[in-house]
Assembly symmetry: none
Homo-oligomer: 208 residues x 4
DNA sequence: CATGAATGAGTGTTCATTCAT
DNA sequence: AATGAATGAACACTCATTCAT
């Protein structure tokens, strides 16, 4: 068995290379969350990461697009894991909806910077940078899956006749708004908000 | 009756000065809506406005803050007028809520760039530009008023026991999400979305 | 005798024209004294003069050079008048030297902004603006006259053998330094400084 | 013994970094001396230094303040070294005064641009750039030390009763004036001026 | 693998000046 | 005689990116 070396690879990248990328991505998340998208220059990210030059970042990422994409991927990976862990047992559609709302708001306490960063990126990038459009498919895929679930609930008689797309839109819109609010209002009570929102959309969607 | 001259003033500004400012504000709205906040440089705005230099903009506005503030003010003026014209007769709280949702979505057809620009600015500015925080009070004031209305509805037995702040958050979150969606999905049916959302929040809020 | 009209001229300029020029020159003196040469933009001078646009200044002066030259001329006129009024009776060269020193320092109390403005201009303009070199002749002429006087004093046995140019240089250098000091040290005692400097140069120049 | 590399540091800066900074500071000294403070734009300094862009300067200095401060520090370092080397043996106060005058004027031959640049900066910065006020303390400290020396001379009976502050003011004023003169009069004889000034202030200050 | 140095386009802003009215 | 509007060059400064070492 050969000795561990810096050229051991995982996913086409050496160990140390992956570590550096992760370090930079983490720094980027913090800077974006705290300083906004426009404030997230390579200089500031390098400083946050404890690197001495921006060249470092350009060396590990093909461009700013690449870095931002990685940030989004990382946040979605973390969120996905968390959400999955909260939902896997529940069977009913309305129950899953309630769990989703609760879990999304729990994320605000668990990974506040991640949520803020993701939202900042999505808002900033929406139309500006054509190279970055590629990040939304992953999010629309999620929405599509949610809509499918709602339809199942309608077929099973759990959920009233409504446009599933609009319900999904409303739920996610409300959750995003809560994310914004939580970022600036330190007194924002995520648990209470979760209960209220869950009740609210339960009533809105439940048959009868 | 004195002859009209270029030095006639209104609100401390020359006629032509006001016209130029309006022209620049309009150009800024378009650029911000289409290219995002980061893409809205003086150079691009000047080009959109058909001006030959960015100095022109600096000549008419004290700084970028000033311009952005004017953009926000203009959008809120237009929106405010439109919303008021749609709401003044209705008496019941739930009725007003329905009208508000419908009117907000109608704005997407009436002034799509305005909505997109406002949303872009609010998102971008939230934490980035401390000079511009001053624009949010006007919007929180609106939210506070909406919460007050909901409380009235609760006292009158129209609306069930719920946290008014959360209902307002959810409604506005959904409307903002719809605004985002409409900006990129040309097939987005605002009228249908309005009906669905109105029903949704009516059910969510109505007593029994 | 014809009625007074705005086209009455003096020195090739109408009355009102001269008044405007004087008003602008006065404003320029204040701004230059308070904000320095680089800070003395047409915009600031216009504001200080209570004018609404910088075009006004360009209209009355051929260029910035022209304005600055006028400022220098005005200060030297005022200073010249004051100095003459203080010196005309004294006969001895050393006496005149003492009077000159005293009068120059008295000017700091009488017209502080004028002195500060003149010094600022001379320092800033020395080599920068070739168009403005023309203002120094007037000042070198003064120095030459002072040197001539010293020579007279030497011939009359009042003043010891020394290079008159160096004495004049030293006296004026000391006075300029005092002007600088007075501008920033509110406790600077011009009268005391005048007595000390007068004694100092009297001893330095007096025969035996 | 490790090989020399570009990352060898001294004083927290790379070797080549320090070299570039020195190169830029030298260029700045020349430009300021020749074109004045207002004329000393990054563009002109970059050109003088043979650099292709002004970004270079911003890369090596935090801002214009930083560069100017460095220029002042460099000139004062050079001057300080030179003055110290000329004065260390002399004991009597009047002797030291004579040496100081001579050395200051010798500096005009040794480092003419340095003197011109320093004077230009001090004059320009006095009231204009509040960020740069911090450079004067170093110079007032020098003056205070000189005044102290004069007082010692008075206690030792070498120097007559006079206000030491005024003597120091006069000496430095005269030396500054000579610096100005030397900058524009190529025939200015610094050595002769030094002898004359030394005699002049010796007589002015000496007891009896 | 890493980095310090360099680049050049782009940022918002100020400037003296011109000109039609 | 006066002025508001416009101009375009210049300003210091930041940016993501490249590259030799």
């Amino acid at each position: 068995m050969p000795a561990k070396s810096s050229s051991d690879k995982q996913g086409g990248r050496t160990f140390i290379e992956s570590a550096r990328r992760a370090q930079i991505v983490d720094a980027a998340i913090v800077v974006i969350a705290e300083q906004g998208y426009a404030g997230a220059s390579f200089a500031k990210i390098a400083k946050q990461a404890g690197l001495s030059s921006t060249g470092m970042i350009s060396y590990h990422f093909k461009g700013k697009d690449d870095l931002i994409r990685e940030v989004v991927a990382e946040v979605m990976r973390v969120n996905g894991e968390f959400l999955l862990s909260k939902m896997d047992t529940e069977a009913s559609v309305l129950g899953r909806l309630r769990l989703y709302i609760t879990a999304r708001l729990a994320l605000l306490d668990e990974y506040p910077k991640h949520q803020r960063a993701l939202q900042t990126i999505v808002n900033a990038v929406h139309n500006e940078d054509p190279e970055l459009r590629g990040l939304t498919p992953a999010m629309t895929a999620l929405a599509t899956e949610q809509e499918r679930r709602i339809r199942v609930g309608q077929e099973q008689g759990e959920i009233r006749q409504l446009d599933p797309r609009v319900l999904v839109l409303a739920v996610n819109g409300a959750l995003n708004e809560a994310t914004s609010r939580a970022a600036f209002d330190p007194d924002f009570d995520t648990a209470a908000c979760a209960r209220e929102l869950a009740d609210l959309f339960d009533r809105a969607a439940r048959k009868q």
